[in-house]
Subunit: 226 residues, 2 copies
Amino acid sequence: MTKFIHPPTDEPFPGSAGGAAGLAGIEPARPVPVQGRALRTRAALLAAVETLVASEGAGAVTTTRVADAAGVSVGTLYRYFADRDDLLLAAYDATVERIVAACAKELEILPDAIAVEEAARRLLAVYLDAAEAIPSHAGLLKAMRAIRPVEADQSDERSGVVAEILAPFLARFASPGTAADPVRLSLLNVLMGTLVDLYLVTRTPEDRAKLRREIEAHMLLAVARL
Amino acid sequence: MTKFIHPPTDEPFPGSAGGAAGLAGIEPARPVPVQGRALRTRAALLAAVETLVASEGAGAVTTTRVADAAGVSVGTLYRYFADRDDLLLAAYDATVERIVAACAKELEILPDAIAVEEAARRLLAVYLDAAEAIPSHAGLLKAMRAIRPVEADQSDERSGVVAEILAPFLARFASPGTAADPVRLSLLNVLMGTLVDLYLVTRTPEDRAKLRREIEAHMLLAVARL
DNA sequence: AACAAAAATGAAATAGTTTCACTTTCATGA
DNA sequence: TCATGAAAGTGAAACTATTTCATTTTTGTT
């Protein structure tokens, strides 16, 4: 599973990190040539991954199948992603980006005099609703965990909703003296990841409602200790 | 990753579930013939997995390498385990068994008039110490999670220290009316799994000590809500 | 329309898992 | 003691996936 070698492959591409180039979502049909073709191919590959994960699980994500579904050849896939893991990670990051955007928006419209606990509670609600609305997120989260297992070092835990939403949250709500304790940040990060994972596989509405309250309690415990 | 077919393969063997046959650990060298050879081969395969996982991670677990390290051929491996996943799961279960044994022993020697919280605290300490003492446990836990992702249904969450130690714990400490809430049991199960995972990858003693207190707080929160 | 860079191709190399027809081992009782 | 067959073991070959790379196609520029 873990790869032994990881050759740079002649610069696979800008990489799965950037993504700041073109405003996604626009241009439904018009084939913008040079730069555009590449962007569309990359997007098509990521979309194919999401569709496959949502319908058949991460196990169905085969480089060949993804390439086929995206209407390109396998070779092309490898121009955009270093390997299968990189592809899955990029697809996961894409879902995280959307969830983080939703959370960031909520954080902005939060009332001025709101208490930390209430703010955390609201963000959790937005987080869960957004995650629920992305059918591939649960599967991609699992795949991501299999590739990048839990790390003690928070600095390596870059991708993840909690990690990305925590900075602006703390900036606004933490008392100035409260230095971010890496141990507690890591804990909150993996804790929420797992609990959301559990939430997303919970089927009945009653169980979901109950679980939300449980998650809330643990989140508040972790946040209170920050 | 997920297998499409799972052919019974002419009864792979008693299976990784039972294990009630022979007292493990005894018989260091003596080659007991008929039944004994098989037991030793199986044990050698599982030991090879543990060694590989401990030294090079679960990614190094290749059917060929495991068979080589155990001194048998690949074909033999498949007489004892249905497939690679089954092998990893069995190796994980073997480590869990040892940790559960340690916890069960602690549960027995707990003072009569002990409070639930204190009992939980002590069990956690034994759990963490035992897990720490098995170098392959962390890696196998990760592998297990990749194979059997988080399930909402507690009844499918058989293997796991929390799941196995919880029944005797509740039998002794839960007030008779407290029916075991499956949602909360699942939560406690995955929660502890992840936090122990994080604990095991935490390197510095100070961070470990701090994390122990954090885990304790979350465990007590979960137990209190049981 | 000629050119070069960007993008795409897909057959072949690689790496791993799994099967299966066959051989070896060994307790048993004739 | 040795013939028997069930249990255990073997390993080459079939499969299933990932990854490479020499080559071709597309596209913007001149």
